[in-house]
């Protein structure tokens, strides 16, 4: 049996759970889904539409707010009871916070950020990116199960998850969590002061990455943006360095955009960036490294020096 750990916050299912279900269904092993929290009936009903043998509710007042200690303790107990062969989770920030501790407590392997599954005879292999997506690795887990797997956001299609003929039966697990043993005391989630720029409304975006090399070079990106009637944005390292404000950041920790045109200048295409822009209608990538992952999702690519290509582009647009 493969156990999928659903993710919810304040009673709302994280859509990435459907992607983990789709991946789990690909294993060909019967799927069960665990929903963890304080009162998660609605979430269990929603995810129970999936083709799964059972939805297990793991409820405790101590699990109302997410904490690593609470989740590890409850899930270690659940997994001890259920004895799944595999445990699948979406590779979200929350999963990244507790899943390594959970797998380590049970002394089992955790394979993170998986983008595809392969079955070769009796060996199950997992494909995961290494070197920031420049290479893929085929990986196997060794030793007794359960083996833990987190699936990269967007790698498996949520709408590819099979729905069941009828709702999956639900059951409440008897798991007790000692609230006093939870060492992390969380406060309510919040958003930073209102963002000055809403890039999601931009029709065209010119986005810069490490390839721009220095703040003093931003001018050519600004000039290109002006020539295209585009907003200027950036990948995370540019905002980390303070070259552009944080509200210009595209990616998993910044804004998600889907403009008509997205021009990526000197952006290699780490997954954290791609998730924020891959829905763009037309993607142009200009990068000196022909192996940069950004070219895998671009419609048009120029493998060349942006300091030569961009001025030529501006000249061409202004003709």
């Amino acid at each position: 049996m493969v156990l999928v750990i659903a993710e919810q916050r304040e009673g709302k299912l994280n859509r990435a759970t459907w992607e983990a279900v789709a991946a789990a269904q690909q294993t060909g092993v019967p799927v069960k889904i665990a929903v963890i929290g304080a009162a998660v009936d609605a979430v269990a009903t929603e995810i129970g539409a999936a083709d799964a043998t059972e939805v297990i509710l793991v409820e405790s007042p101590a699990l109302a707010d997410y904490t690593a200690d609470g989740y590890v303790s409850a899930l270690a107990a659940l997994i001890g009871e259920e004895k799944p062969a595999l445990v699948f989770l979406p590779h979200t920030y929350q999963t990244r916070d507790f899943a390594p501790a959970l797998a380590a407590r049970l002394a089992r392997p955790l394979i993170t950020d998986v983008i595809a599954l392969k079955q070769d005879g009796g060996t199950r292999t997992y494909v995961r990116p290494v070197f920031q997506g420049k290479l893929n690795a085929d990986v196997t887990a060794t030793g007794p199960g359960p083996h833990f797997v987190t699936v990269q956001i967007g790698a498996f299609r949520a709408d590819g998850a099979k729905r069941g003929a009828s709702a999956a039966p639900t059951r409440k697990a008897s798991v007790t969590v000692d609230a006093g043993a939870i060492r992390q005391k969380p406060e309510a989630p919040f958003k930073e002061a209102k963002q000055a720029v809403d890039l999601s409304q931009a029709e065209r975006i010119v986005s810069v990455g490490r390839g721009i090399k220095g703040q003093e070079h931003l001018k050519i990106a600004q000039d290109l943006a002006a020539a295209l009637g585009a907003e200027l944005a950036a990948s995370r390292p540019i905002c980390d360095a303070g070259w552009l404000p944080m509200d210009r950041q595209i990616g998993s920790s910044g804004q998600t955009v889907a403009p008509k045109l997205y021009v990526a200048l000197g952006i290699s295409g780490a997954i954290q960036h791609l998730v924020g822009m891959k829905g763009s209608r037309t993607i142009v990538a200009i990068n000196k490294d022909p192996e940069a992952p950004i070219f895998e999702i671009a419609d048009y690519g120029i493998a060349g020096d942006l300091f030569e290509v961009v001025p030529a582009l501006i000249a061409e647009l202004n003709k």
Binding site: A68, V72, Y93, R96, D97, F98, A99, P100, A101, A104, A107, R108, P109, I111, D113, R128, P129, V130, F131, K134, L135, N136, A137, D138, V139, T140, A141, G143, R183, Q184, K185, P186, A188, Q195, R204, R210, G229, P237, D240, S252, S253, G254, T256, L261, R281, T282, V284, D289, E291, P293, E296, Y300, G301, I302, G304, V309, A312, A315, E316, L317
Partner: protein, 257 residues
């Protein structure tokens, strides 16, 4: 506050990756190396906490002899001393093995705080920090963007700002000793000064030989370049022709401008 910072040496981003003959890892004999960038932010945060609350910053690196390069660099930036868990096998080991090596070497140090980067630029497990916390029985919090320490040492607590997805954040309070994984961009990095580089030469690097690792919990069967999407049209002429061709296609084919 006695702070450990776990750092990793990784190949530089600019190095053109080449795959080894057995196709199981890169050919790193002729690669150039650097400090894993998220770890540089963890180190900077440790140095700032020490400046504020006094104490000691100890860098811990698990890796082959060549990792001495990034240890020296961390010492030059201001760390007080280092622990080098030296083993060739740790260059591409699984996260449980790396965390076990770090735990064994740091347990007796009784650190108040352990910092790591949120993940490495090469393997990208995003696991070693959290597994290390579990092995040291410390509470942890990940992807941290701000650290507030209430007391310099002892029975203090930390209040940390954790990054969630989509622009959300959350404050968490946890007791010391604790482990945090640090998000890139939490601070502005300092670089080594000449004075720092000279001072680093006199600082202690304690070498530790790790216990023989058990069987790997996960194994790489092969590494390879991902297949390019078929749809990408590469415009491969010189800059001005490529620019002309691109503008034409954006106007006529994609109708994006």
């Amino acid at each position: 506050m006695k702070i450990a910072v776990c750092i990793k040496q990784v190949v530089t981003r600019e190095w053109q990756l080449r795959i080894n003959d057995s196709k199981t890892w890169i050919r790193d004999q002729d690669a150039s190396f650097e400090l894993n960038e998220p770890d540089a932010y963890a180190l900077e945060e440790a140095l700032r906490l020490k400046e504020k609350h006094s104490g000691e910053v100890v860098v811990c690196a698990a890796g082959p002899a060549r990792a001495a390069q990034v240890i020296r660099e961390a010492l030059a930036r201001g760390a007080d001393r280092a622990i080098h868990i030296e083993s060739d096998a740790l260059a591409s080991a699984d996260p449980l093995t790396v965390a076990e090596a770090l735990a064994a070497a740091s347990r007796d140090e009784k650190f108040d705080l352990v910092l790591t980067g949120l993940q490495s630029d090469d393997q990208g497990f995003g696991q070693v920090g959290v597994v290390l916390a579990e092995k040291l029985r410390m509470p942890h919090a990940t992807i941290i963007m701000e650290v507030q320490a209430s007391e310099p040492s002892g029975q203090g607590t930390l209040r940390v700002k954790r990054e969630l997805e989509g622009g959300w954040f959350q404050w968490i309070t946890l007791p010391l000793p604790a482990l945090l994984t640090i998000q890139s961009g939490i601070n502005q990095l300092r670089y080594a000064t000449l004075k720092g580089i000279m001072a680093a030469k006199k600082k202690e690097i304690r070498k530790v030989t790790p216990a023989a690792p058990g069987e790997r919990s996960q194994k790489i069967l092969s590494v390879y370049f991902p297949e390019k999407g078929k749809k990408t049209q590469m415009l491969s002429s010189g800059p001005s022709e490529a620019a002309r061709e691109l503008v034409k296609r954006l106007r006529e084919e994609a109708r994006a401008i």
